[in-house]
């Protein structure tokens, strides 16, 4: 029904699933010495987060400065007091911006939230407040040494992370979980992963490319497990047919009880 089977090309190949940036040595030993891969954040995403944070910080400093000048005028504070308050405020803002947020948001700043990053300790647990303060006191040195240090270190740590014993990891939900409810019993993990990845990412692909790939999988199903295709209606796109045959369910569209 779907033409001649192809040799399953592209199916047994190891899929490139590691888009979440797993680095070398990026594992932690959890309870019972079980290894969990840590999605360590690399130089790029961390620099992006830092740029966002510094942009926001300079906006805040700016607002603070002009807000206080305006307020001081409105409340007719002496210029001495106004200057004193501005100086202290700017100083406090500059030094507490990062660690106050990281303590309050459990290892995240606004920039890190935008880049979906989080600070954790070396065991993957929540970093202590002391560690969060420490890693940010060293920040001014890291403005110079941070990028080379992150580039050299296998776990992308800057000097502040070395001092405080912290790591920065990606903290994003994986792609919408998609579940295949019916699978050929002999399929291995790579087959499942590739099929799932295709179905989950199909909306992002050009439709003729997605259909082309779905067609290859369908041909293989047709050759190996024709019974799965028995109840697939005729005349729908290969992608829809593949989804129907494997009973693909998007978990995110089912409200959890």
């Amino acid at each position: 029904m779907w033409g001649t089977p192809m040799s399953g090309e592209g199916i047994h190949r190891e899929p490139s699933m590691e888009q979440e940036g797993i680095g070398i040595d990026g594992t932690l030993l959890a309870l019972d010495n079980i290894e969990v891969e840590l999605p360590l954040a690399g130089l790029g995403s961390r620099t992006l987060a830092a740029i966002l944070d510094y942009l926001l910080l300079s906006c805040l400093l700016f607002i603070c400065l002009f807000g206080m000048i305006f307020l001081a005028g409105a409340l007719s504070l002496g210029e001495g007091w106004a200057a004193a308050i501005i100086l202290v405020l700017l100083f406090v803002l500059q030094w507490t911006y990062f660690f106050a947020q990281e303590i309050y948001w459990e290892g995240r700043t606004v920039g890190k939230m935008a880049a979906k990053l989080r600070v954790v300790d070396a065991t993957g647990g929540r970093a202590t407040n002391g560690a969060l303060v420490l890693r940010n006191l060293v920040r001014q040195v890291d403005l110079l040494t941070g990028i080379p240090s992150m580039a050299i270190d296998r776990r992308s740590r800057r000097l502040g992370d070395l001092v405080a014993g912290t790591l920065v990891i990606h903290d994003r939900d994986p792609r919408p979980a998609l579940e295949l409810q019916r699978l050929p019993s002999h399929w291995g993990a790579a087959d499942i992963a590739v099929t799932e990845a295709l179905l989950a990412r199909a909306p992002e692909l050009e439709s003729h490319r997605a259909d082309e790939m779905a067609l290859r999988l369908l041909r293989r199903l047709d050759a190996e497990n024709p019974e799965l295709l028995a109840d697939v209606p005729q005349g729908i796109s290969p992608l829809a047919a593949l989804g129907t045959a494997l009973r693909a369910i998007d978990q995110h569209q089912i409200p959890m009880s």
Binding site: P15, M17, L28, L29, A30, L31, D32, I34, V36, E37, L38, G78, E79, G80, W81, A83, A84, I85, L87, V88, F91, E106, R118, D121, A122, T123, G124, G125, A127, T128, G130, V133, L134, L137, R139, Q140, V141, T145, L159, L162, V163, A164, G165, I169, D173, P174, A177, L178, E179, L180, Q181, R182, L183, S185, A189, I192, A193, E196, A200, M256
Partner: protein, 337 residues
């Protein structure tokens, strides 16, 4: 076990763990609930290990890895309970750390003194060095018998100069501390620069025979200010020592222990910077206070600080701190679940 059976049999447990974790951040759990959560966490970890070996890259593996990570973050805590709060910190922890750090503080003091002498000698021989630090206007003022410090009382309102001095000093202190991470180079730079600056300023005022007024100005706040900067620098050197001389230990652990000590030293100094700013604004520049009074204020505060930092009444074997050589459980998960 094939993938589908694995998912079908266990996914209820995974969903339950996910919703329990979400609850953890919203409500205070009872002990029984927490115990249940810890038990499910362990099961999820095991499922995760299975998925990682048997079904890598599958949706179940990704879900499990995410659950394992957020479970670890929620349940594993390395927090060392600080004993006794603020009073305990200032009367026990800080003095104990200060005493242990005395040799390193000695190094910082020596380095500072040497660079002060250097700056002094150099400026006496070559007064133009003073121009570099003070700027031409201040030096011109000196030539006409005016101290640039007079401006601190006449043209800048005291509230402003207090906060300016405090924030500036704290900034220098933190830089000296953080500079330790560059193997001490930046710390040395801060120390030597400040030393040369002081020596040179003394030298240039001497050149114009105004050293008396300078010493009068700095006598009230100088001793304490210099002590604090040198202690912050010593904290930086502690960091540097942890970084450079790891010995038999993993460097990360040694650095972590050093950072804790250095952090205590820095935190113990911070409140004194505020005291300092008040002395520096309210006492130092006032023309109506006698030089003797200023000097005694300076020495009194210095003595008070040293007494506080050395705290001879606190027991010598300070608790709550791991000696840096002791094996600490850092790097090993210590969740008691």
């Amino acid at each position: 076990m094939d993938y589908q059976r694995f998912v079908q049999q266990r996914q209820d447990r995974w969903r339950r763990f996910e919703s329990e974790l979400a609850e953890l951040s919203r409500y205070q759990l009872s002990f029984r609930q927490l115990e249940q959560l810890a038990f499910t966490y362990r099961q999820v970890l095991h499922d995760q290990a299975l998925a990682a070996t048997r079904f890598p890259g599958t949706p179940a593996h990704r879900l499990l890895r995410r659950l394992a990570l957020s479970g670890t973050r929620a349940l594993v805590r390395q927090e060392r309970r600080a004993k006794g709060g603020i009073a305990h910190f200032f009367f026990r922890t800080f003095p104990a750390t200060f005493r242990r750090a005395l040799p390193v503080i000695g190094v910082a003091v020596a380095l500072f003194l040497v660079s002060t002498l250097f700056g002094f000698g150099f400026t006496l021989a070559q007064p133009s060095l003073g121009l570099l630090f003070l700027g031409p206007e201040a030096v011109e003022g000196l030539a006409q018998g005016e101290m640039w410090t007079d401006a601190l009382v006449t043209s800048i309102p005291p509230a402003a100069s207090t906060s300016m001095i405090a924030t500036n000093n704290v900034g220098v202190g933190i830089t000296a501390f953080a500079g330790g991470i560059t193997a001490g180079f930046l710390t040395t730079y801060v120390l030597v620069l400040n030393g040369i600056m002081l020596g040179s300023v003394v030298g240039i005022t001497m050149h114009f025979s105004m050293q008396g007024r300078l010493l009068e100005f700095i006598s009230a706040h100088g001793p304490l200010e210099l002590s604090l900067i040198m202690i912050c620098a010593a904290a930086g050197y502690l960091l540097a020592r942890g970084l450079v001389t790891a010995g038999d230990e993993p460097r990360a652990r040694r650095l972590g222990a050093a950072a804790r000590e250095a952090g205590i030293l820095l935190a113990g100094c911070l409140p004194w910077f505020v005291v300092l700013a008040f002395i520096e604004t309210l006492i130092s520049p006032q023309p109506y206070l006698s030089p003797g009074f200023k000097l005694s204020v300076g020495l009194a505060f210095e003595a008070f600080f040293l007494f506080f930092a050395l705290n001879p009444f606190s027991p010598p074997e300070a608790e709550g701190l791991l000696p840096s050589t002791a094996a600490s459980p850092q790097g090993v998960a210590t969740a008691d679940v």
